[in-house]
Symmetry: C2
Subunit: 548 residues, 2 copies
């Protein structure tokens, strides 16, 4: 094999193209900035297929479980829409509709015979970030050098989703290295935002963001070590959850910097509603992942924790912390307005909002950056250089040549600082509770300083990454869209620092007009039940939720 990296990438692109049946090819691609409505109008989807793909996962599994829908029909609908999605926004790294339909057929046959579903996800297609392994397929993760290797086993999560009845049909695009909140690699190029091709789909689970955003998928599986589930959710007006480490199984997944445990990457779903996120989490937990993956905590879904929140909704209301600036970078006007919207609607509905003082976020941002770059990029450079491909421009910070590999004792010191910081943050939370005389149920905060960003402008990870350092649960809730008539640039703004100046200079009301705006709801470690219940209520109050 003496193929150049360009040839290997071209071969992969060719294979992806070949995987799309001719009858699903779009004759003439739209030229408008937004392709968001194209699938509905393409004529490629039948009325029933449009209905299926516009549904919720919760509804679909209910119908599949009653035999009111067949998995082949649901799978075919999503395969077609995913094929469209890829042609429109370039979000696919693996597409295998034939295998998917065969799997769906098997599930339908099972249902026919046993008159019951195989599991809680019976027949539901789920899309996977190209980091989850599927036996027999490649896992490129955006590295050219990984192409041509075919997996000999599933990741644990893949296997458990399969056991729960999920159908696999597509693996979605990622940025080279995964360490970026945009999605670009040297195999397939850049993935675009369906709502505007000038905007990023986010990253690193950006293929999922775009694919779920345009409903080529109903639930997508992403991962997050610094915002990689939450940023694509935010940029595509979706819900996404970053569970705490140990809740969902990550075993046998591919990764950059495998074995790095100072800050754990976590896996979680991206979807159109909090209830679909819950469906995913409860389904995986019902398979007892802790019996397969040693890092998973033996913690079944705790309905009583959701009930605790629902009880508060009935009487007294929630108590939520709130901050709109972490002291490093002030969010753009659309994001500040989005936060105000959430706060207003909550107050109007009788909930208490209390100010939260971000504790040493500047320190935390530096600490986690040091962790990302602890090996002096040895690991990612090995995989980049193995094929001769260049590094994508977006990771130049990570590949900073002044960052040398850390000494082991220094890493231990960083780990100690991390733990101390986490405990101090918990102290702040607890002390505020003692002052208030009641529980602080969650904290409302920005997830990025911007609405869906223009390409190559993602500069500040801190709103997301500090939560990774804390290992808190975080749920992204879509709120609104940037509006040039309201979200006027503050020309008087005195920046906090150089980065803040750059980020705020880049706000352009015209360019951002219509871009999705989101917030994150932050709960303590392993508080998925409560935090999701709160996120669901906020979505309901905002009127953008598809809660059944």
């Amino acid at each position: 094999m003496t193929a150049t990296w360009e040839e290997r990438a071209a071969d992969k692109r060719h294979r992806i193209e070949q995987s799309i049946p001719a009858e699903w090819k779009v004759k003439s691609l739209p030229t408008a900035d937004s392709v968001f409505d194209f699938p509905e109008k393409s004529g490629l989807l039948s009325e029933k297929e449009r209905e299926i793909t516009q549904s919720s996962a919760t509804d679909l599994v209910a119908k599949l479980a009653k035999g009111e829908l067949k998995s082949v029909d649901v799978t075919l609908a999503f395969c077609k829409r995913a094929a469209l999605a890829h042609q429109l926004v370039n979000c696919v790294l693996e597409f295998f509709p034939e295998a998917a339909l065969a799997q769906a057929k098997g599930l339908d046959a099972y249902f026919e015979e046993h008159k019951k579903p195989v599991g809680p996800l019976h027949g539901l297609p789920i899309s996977l970030k190209d980091q989850l392994r599927i036996k027999g397929l490649e896992t490129s993760m955006g590295y050219v050098s990984w192409l041509g290797k075919y997996e000999t086993r599933d990741s644990i999560l893949t296997a458990l989703l399969r056991k729960a009845g999920a159908v696999f049909y597509v693996k979605t695009s990622v940025p080279q290295t995964l360490m970026v909140c945009e999605t670009i690699n040297n195999i397939t190029g850049r993935t675009l935002n369906p709502r505007n091709k000038n905007w990023s789909c986010g990253g690193s689970s950006g293929g999922e963001g775009a694919m779920v955003g345009i409903r080529g998928s109903i639930i997508g599986v992403g991962t997050d070590i610094g915002g990689s589930i939450r940023v694509p959710s935010a940029f595509n007006f979706l819900y996404g959850i970053r569970p705490s480490h140990g809740r969902m199984p990550y075993g046998y997944m591919a990764n950059s910097m495998e074995g790095q445990e100072t800050v754990h990457s976590v896996v979680g779903p991206i979807a159109h509603s909090a209830s679909d996120l819950r469906l995913f989490l409860t389904s995986v937990l019902s398979e007892e992942p802790w019996k397969y993956d040693s890092k998973v905590v033996p913690l079944p879904w705790r309905s009583h924790e959701e009930e605790a929140i629902r009880t508060k909704l009935q009487s007294g209301g929630l108590t939520l912390g709130f901050f709109n600036c972490d002291g490093n970078v002030l969010p753009h006007p659309p994001v500040l307005r989005g936060l105000d919207t959430v706060v207003s609607v909550l107050k109007k509905n009788g909930h208490s909002i209390v100010p939260w003082t971000p504790y040493k976020h500047d320190f935390a941002v530096d600490l986690i950056y040091g962790i990302y770059s602890a090996d002096g990029s040895t690991d990612v450079l090995r995989d980049i250089n193995a094929s001769g491909e260049p590094a994508i421009p977006n990771i130049k910070d990570l590949l900073n040549p002044s960052v040398r590999k850390a000494d082991l004792n220094d890493v231990w010191d960083v780990q100690l600082q991390k733990w101390k910081y986490q405990c101090e943050y918990l102290d702040k939370w607890r002390v505020l509770e003692e002052e208030l005389g009641k529980e602080l149920d969650a904290i409302i905060a920005p997830i990025t300083p911007t609405a869906a960003i223009r390409h190559n402008q993602f500069r500040y990870y801190g709103y997301a990454s500090v939560i990774n350092l804390l290992d808190f649960t975080s749920v992204v809730v879509p709120v609104t869209f940037a509006d040039k008539t309201i979200d006027v640039k503050n020309e008087e703004y005195k920046p906090l620092n150089e980065l803040d100046a750059l980020v705020n200079k880049e706000y352009d009301a015209e360019a951002y007009h219509g871009a999705p705006v989101a917030v994150q709801i932050i709960g303590r470690k392993l508080s998925e039940e409560r935090t999701l219940a709160i996120a669901e209520e906020i979505g309901r109050l905002l009127g953008n939720s598809v809660t059944p």
Copy 2:
């Protein structure tokens, strides 16, 4: 300060001596090998004090909570017995009876006024390994260089125990570095086994083992990264639990290799019964440690998990795996007999015992040794050399000059191997369950290859340390005592390897006669409730439990 390390150590010894009131001093120390019965016969303890110190913690807190006992009386009894213990077996690094009695007085006054206890441990004295910080006291951890530094805050566990009503009066001895299963340091020298001064008390929580063994304490707090709770429990005929990482708060405790997170040291109790271990765990969990320490999983005590075991005891019985040799080192005859005793009594009572094949324990022992020595001993040598004291001979393996500091990427690789190994072990467990068609409730195994060992002969950590690598819950149950008339040396034995040859050569029926023998009961990660319930039942069947 130009004091030599010898002077600094002598000063500390002098201060410990001074902390024992003259009236508690033993006029003439016994010369027999065993001092085990001495406190009862010393004449120093009143009838009531003997009764208190011979009681169980569960009984004592029940009486304290009803006002039937005063904390000053209980505290005084244990202070006196602890003072005796130190004079007999040299197990103290800090002793502060005055402060303890003042604390007890305060608790009695609280009870007098409010007619209720402050918490579940109201008034109960608890001894702490000299690794837990107490504000105002030293934490030497066996390092001369740490002497003279006085703590400005409590460890989280200290603070929560205090909140639950515990009284502190003593901190117990440890080996220099903590990385040894015997207890010797250059400050106080060697801690002896109360049952025979020629035997080790175990380590590194050896001061606790000796102190609780001779009932100078009713519950002692130890830590375990390779057997350091379990070995002292075994060598002193005590119960001890190594909870999984994340169950008990370790925050702000002193440690060697602080910040090392590849294998976590964990903290847990040593006591005379499973029910007293449970009292400790439930009391700490009732304080919600996850709100203070970020590493603690928000998992209250799950009574329903205990109930699941009790239900099995009522019908069908338990299913327990069993192995008596890990393929590396065959246990001595007393330990093999101890294991047989447990298996027989379980079978006789209707439980199923199935063979468990130890999975790659040789690989695991090597892997964890590599982790212990990953920094080429940089950290421990810094603390040893800071005072000029020599290294204790027992850590020569750890300080092996051929072991160099590991490269960070190599550590990541080790972490990946660890995770993979853990998952493979879970696979074996699950597959066996599938074959059996029922749950495998726990595994019975040796905890050391020997009964309480002679000094400087502790050579093989593997039975304990593999469980640390797996992060499984493990409870030590005392079983029997070596008996020279039954436990005859097998002169025909063909050793498995050089280490096995050495360990087995050192068996001497005469020297070990009367030495405590224990087993460990191993459960999956975070299975404290179930594993403890099983350990309790085994103790009950053996007739050595003080279950109320």
